[in-house]
């Protein structure tokens, strides 16, 4: 039995989801008999952690601060064991551009992309390079902020006229954005969980938008709206694709240096090729979130999942 501080909320745009993840984790920890301290991560975070003197912190925060290494850095300073990836892995995973460069260097397929910060456009005339980029990537082009964890700010540019508006939107969330080749295909997620024998990839989940979608493009927002996306687990994939997706997820997890758990999002294109889009060091932990669904499919119930994640905090190498 441990005294566990569950850190949730914070001031990221994913605060609401994080509060739900945190509540779910708190319930599980209580059922497991732990002494739970719920902390909405705010200005008093350090003070509360010092007052409450927990044995361990369960980080259930998503997006900025909680998932980008900031909170992890503070927990390191306090010398408090914590769940999930350490600082360097969080820094790499939250930055899609760093992640993709790392993947490419190691031969892991990821959609071709170009990334810029605002100064490239303001001071180096990067706008003049847009036609060349558009020609290289071909429409439609996906435009996204480099660090935003949720669907916010992700736009599809179908023509050259859409690109400036999409860039303006993406820059609302981050100083760095990427233009990425659109992969038409199936939307997959593979969760990875550390265990006594090292990390293992869990069954693949496929996200299928339900009816009424306009155009050919997956509506990213649907992922976050109850009843607008069906999740199929295990995903029914062509021969070999499941194993390949799991291998790519594990490889991504290891390249980034993730620890404890993470979720890797991929696309399976029409030719049967897989492409890694991004990794989430702290994916959602609500009951319908993909990691818990996938763990359930692997015979790991939610309480057991939480228990394993918690245990890993004490055996960080």
């Amino acid at each position: 039995v441990s005294r566990v501080a569950v850190l949730a909320g914070g001031s990221s745009f994913e605060r609401q989801v994080s509060l739900r993840s945190g509540a779910r984790v708190e319930d599980a920890l209580e059922r497991l008999g732990h002494d739970v301290i719920a902390i909405d991560a705010g200005r008093d975070l350090i003070r509360r952690l010092r007052e409450e003197r927990p044995d361990v912190a369960f980080v259930a925060m998503h997006g900025r601060d909680g998932e980008d290494g900031t909170v992890q850095e503070l927990l390191e300073i306090l010398g408090l064991p914590y769940t999930g990836s350490g600082v360097p892995a969080c820094v790499r995973a939250m930055d899609k551009v760093l992640t993709k460069h790392l993947l490419i260097e190691h031969g892991v397929p990821t959609p071709e992309f170009f990334a810029f910060n605002q100064t490239a456009f303001r001071e180096l005339g990067a706008a003049d390079a847009l036609p060349a980029i558009e020609q290289r990537l071909a429409f439609p082009i996906v435009v996204k902020p480099s660090s935003q964890g949720s669907a916010l700010g992700i736009k599809f540019a179908r023509t050259a006229a859409d690109v400036p508006g999409a860039l303006v939107a993406a820059f609302s969330y981050d100083a760095k954005v990427l233009l990425e080749r659109f992969v038409d295909g199936r939307d997959l997620a593979v969760s990875v969980l550390d265990g006594p024998d090292g990390p293992v990839a869990l069954p693949v989940v496929e996200a299928v938008p339900t009816g009424g979608q306009e155009g050919d493009f997956y509506d990213f927002q649907a992922r976050y709206e109850i009843g607008r996306t069906d999740f199929i687990c295990p995903a029914e994939l062509p021969d070999g694709a499941t194993q390949r997706a799991q291998e790519l997820a594990l490889r991504t997890y290891e390249l980034l240096g993730c620890y404890g758990f993470a979720r890797v999002d991929l696309m399976l294109d029409g030719a049967g090729d897989l492409h890694v889009l991004e990794a989430n060091p702290i994916p959602g932990l609500t009951e319908t979130s993909l990691l818990p669904q996938s763990a359930e499919e692997a015979g790991i119930g939610f309480d057991q999942l939480v228990s394993r994640i918690l245990d890993s905090a004490f055996s960080r190498p």
């Binding site: 001031s11 745009f13 994913e14 605060r15 609401q16 989801v17 509060l19 739900r20 509540a23 779910r24 708190e26 319930d27 209580e30 719920a38 605002q118 456009f121 303001r122 706008a127 003049d128 847009l130 949720s150 669907a151 916010l152 700010g153 690109v163 400036p164 508006g165 860039l167 303006v168 939107a169 993406a170 820059f171 609302s172 969330y173 927002q221 976050y224 709206e225 109850i226 009843g227 607008r228 609500t286 009951e287 319908t288």
Partner: protein, 467 residues
């Protein structure tokens, strides 16, 4: 005695998802979106929020409140704690007759039903009249709370453009013809004719007259939502649709929220007797009766205090805040932006160049601790993405100046970036949207048009002269 067992931990924070499989089809339209998560961020105390629709209750004298409650405890304690009739208490209806008289309406108390806020009227009227798939005609943009109520009953909502004179009744007639041909005539038309939420425009007298005629000609019900009518900061009072029609086809929604207190949850509906009877049945199912305590409180207030004087004080306060916001908009928003100039009410509707998505802009604004409502929620058809609703009643004048300055900075950054990206010097013509057009078209001499003139150019010139 042993202590009671602990309640289940944090049940209020338990996931919505756990129960998702049990939800009715009706609730499937009640989606929670990423944008809603953004909106939730505007609750932080450091955020200057123009997102609410909050009256300034801090201006209500606490000693008045104390004397009212003391009087109730003294004189009508048992009654205040008891159930009341579904239609409402007679003395509360007396207050309602007074409030409606202040806008020159005559109403028979028997035609009034007291409700739990104006929002309940929207729910009950929709529940009474709408089967799934039935059509409701509303303004575009429209009050999101009304759209939510309509959607909850699976109505098909058609939104009619507005200009500076409010709903385009000519377009309404065309739409009614079309809907008639398609076999989908609407059950009712929903309108906020005065100081519309969120548009900030007011329906002109000729349009009011014409709308009432159209309702008569076509035997069509109209729901007139008038929460702000008494909060007029300039211009002449216009007759309500209800007074023009006499209550034959026009149902009237009133509320004490904006003239006294939203916390009391007291509103009312006036409707033709057969409709009111049905609404009454719906109300019985919903909550039996409106809070007796709230009703008695409002009566105590009306009997012993000058409610008109308080409305007058609010009017002074809000007029100053509106003027401050209009000045700040003229100073800090870029020339590509347009906004309405409300003659009353609580809201300004601003429209930006169409390359700016106001949901994304909100993310950038929240980083500098200021919030507004993105326009997309005021439409069900994807319009409004470049517009925003700004509330000026809930923040003080310093906050308004600072908040608008910050939003203006963020917009200017985006306009400049867009200019850089397109190689243009960011002089894109303003987007021609319904209400934005309204603002520019405000020079027409129609009665009522003066209510919404576009202040920008004039204000800028005035400012330039001043400095």
């Amino acid at each position: 005695m042993s202590p009671p067992p602990d309640p289940p931990a944090r049940s209020t924070r338990r996931d919505l998802e756990r129960y998702a499989g049990l939800f009715s089809a009706r609730t499937r339209v009640m989606t929670s979106s990423a944008t809603r998560d953004l909106m939730a961020m505007s609750d932080r105390p450091e955020v200057i929020s123009f997102a609410g629709g909050l009256p300034d209750t801090s201006s209500f004298p606490p000693e008045t409140f104390a004397s009212m409650t003391a009087r109730i405890a003294d004189e009508s304690c048992a009654r205040a704690l008891q159930y009341g009739p579904t239609e409402g208490l007679a003395e509360t209806k007396g207050c309602i007759v007074d409030v409606m008289a202040a806008e020159r309406m005559t109403v028979d108390p028997d035609d009034v039903l007291v409700t739990t806020g104006g929002q309940q009227v929207l729910d009950l009227v929709t529940k009474t009249l709408i089967d799934p798939g039935d059509t409701i005609v509303a303004e575009g943009p429209s009050y999101p709370g009304a759209l939510n109520a309509f959607q909850a009953y699976q109505a098909n909502v058609v939104q009619i453009d507005m200009d500076s004179d409010g709903m385009r009744v000519d377009l309404l007639e065309e739409t009614l013809d079309r809907l008639g041909r398609d076999g989908k005539p609407p059950k009712f038309v929903y309108t906020v004719p005065s100081f519309q939420n969120p548009g900030g425009v007011t329906m002109s007298l000729p349009r009011r007259r014409r709308l009432v005629e159209v309702a008569r000609e076509r035997e069509l019900l109209v729901l007139e939502d008038n929460p702000y009518g008494l909060l007029r900061y300039e211009g002449d009072r216009l007759p309500t649709l209800y007074s023009l029609d006499g209550g034959v086809y026009v149902m009237y929604l009133g509320t004490f929220s904006k003239i006294f207190s939203p916390g009391l949850r007291l509103g009312w509906v006036v409707a033709p007797p057969p409709v009111l009877e049905r609404i009454n049945l719906g109300k019985q199912q919903a909550d039996l009766c409106t809070s007796t305590l709230s009703q008695i409180l409002v009566h105590a207030y009306f009997e012993h205090h000058d409610w008109r004087e308080y409305v007058g004080a609010l009017t002074e306060l809000y007029r100053a805040r509106r003027d401050t916001m209009l000045d700040a908009l003229a100073e800090h928003f870029p020339p590509q932006a347009e906004w309405t100039r409300p003659g009353g009410g609580l809201f300004i509707w601003a429209t930006l160049p169409d390359f700016i998505d106001t949901s994304d802009l909100l993310a950038a604004a929240l980083r500098v601790d200021v919030a507004f409502v993105p326009g997309e929620g005021a439409f069900l058809d994807g319009r409004g993405r470049s517009s925003m609703r700004l509330n000026f009643s809930g923040a003080d004048e310093d906050q308004i100046r600072e908040g608008i300055r910050r939003i203006g900075e963020v917009i200017k950054e985006q306009v400049a970036l867009y200019g850089t990206l397109t190689g243009e010097a960011a002089q894109a013509p303003p987007r021609h949207d319904a209400v934005a057009d309204a603002a520019t078209a405000g020079e027409s001499q129609d009665e009522g048009a003066r209510v919404v003139e576009l202040p920008r150019r004039a204000e800028r010139e005035r400012r330039a002269r001043r400095s």
